[in-house]
């Protein structure tokens, strides 16, 4: 999957979990937590959504690598076909 497509998919999942977040306002390099109070429940829901939609099972130990849009794309690029 191309990086832009991957970023769009991830963004769609983030806004599904946090429907009150305006996708256009998300800054790729800033942690979700600092932008819109993403908490441990959001992170768990995000991991569940990644598994459901992209077939990637993210171990708990790797959660910190999903902290921002940029980090997600970097992490998922090798793991999504």
């Amino acid at each position: 999957m191309k990086r832009e497509d991957l970023a769009a998919r991830v963004l769609a999942l983030v806004t599904e979990i946090a429907p009150d977040v305006d996708p256009a306002s998300v800054i790729a390099g800033v942690d979700f937590r600092d932008q819109f109070d993403f908490d441990s429940m959001d992170t768990l829901n995000f991991a569940i959504a990644l598994h459901r939609d992209l077939g990637v099972e993210v171990p708990e130990a790797d959660y910190s690598r999903l902290a921002s849009l940029d980090k997600c794309v970097a992490y998922l690029a090798d793991r999504v076909r």
Partner: protein, 382 residues
Amino acid sequence: MLSEFRLPALGADMEEGTVVQWNVAPGDAVRRGQVVAVVETDKGAIDVEIFEDGVMRELVVQPGTKVPVGTVLARLETAGESASPSPAPGPAGAAETAAGSRARISPAARVRARELGVEVASLTGTGPGGAITIEDVEKAKRPAQPSREPPAAKAGEHDMAQAGGMRAAIATAMSRSKREIPHYYLSLTKDVTGAVDWLAARNASVPVTERLLFTALLIKAVALTCRDVQGFSGFYRDGRYEPGPSVHVGVAVALRGGGLVAPAIMDTADKPLPALMEEFRQLVMRARGGRLRASELAAPSIIVTSLGDADVDAVFPIIQPPQVAIVGSGAVSSRPWVVDGKVEPRQLIVLSLGADHRVTDGRLGAQFLAGIAERLAAPGKL
């Protein structure tokens, strides 16, 4: 016999609500627990359940009408004569119909309108029967203030206007708490390395959908300890303490736009951890999506508030009346700790208790808090 369905109080701070929508029509059979109406409150749009089996006879309050707690919303025909009265009837009052605001609107559109700050009464619906849809709401928003799309709420930058009603409700409840409840506070630092390791190992061995959060362990530990030590799960009303009929632990959920709600996980102590976790997850999603049930908001007999995600060490929690206790937790973090005479890095948590001196004293509170800590240290038994 004919029975009355009244607007229940969804917490001590609620005085009125606006019926947004009926999910049933006269002649429909209803079952106890069925969501029959959506009511807009300071806590968002709430699904209100009916308390008896029966057949709807009359919908007394029309959508768009704001009424005080205790108002008869509908009448239904029930079998037998043992019909229980609906709980927590407040002062009944005359229905006050806001002129021109009888808008038919879907709950989701109502939520969206709140988010965008759109006045529902000013809209013309294009949905079925002239109902206002999400599109109508968003259309109304765009031309009016094109450059003021609400930005994502940043930490510490909450839109107070959007959350104004909820802020007022929180202020009312907390002012009453500080005025009426003689709090005492205790805290206890616990080494939970065992529980953290247990959780990590467990979560690594199950599918992502079955992972647990540490807070789920805490919720269960609190629920079980409420059974061991009396005086913390219940209500203080009319000058006396009433133990809760069952332990329903409320979980404080912070909303992204500001504010918080504390809906209950019902019969918390009886739920196995996986079921409790799934319910907790759904509850947080519904709390943030504005789709809680009336029973969940009215039920908590004690609340757990965890600020672990916010990197604080400890919480000094304030009781939500008419409850008599609240348990707080800070972040689980690696800190120096003395084990067998040596300083070691361990995973520590600070548990805290705010409790009501009219009901219990510090010694019993200490026993209660220690009980929670002990249960957390043995997660396999939760």
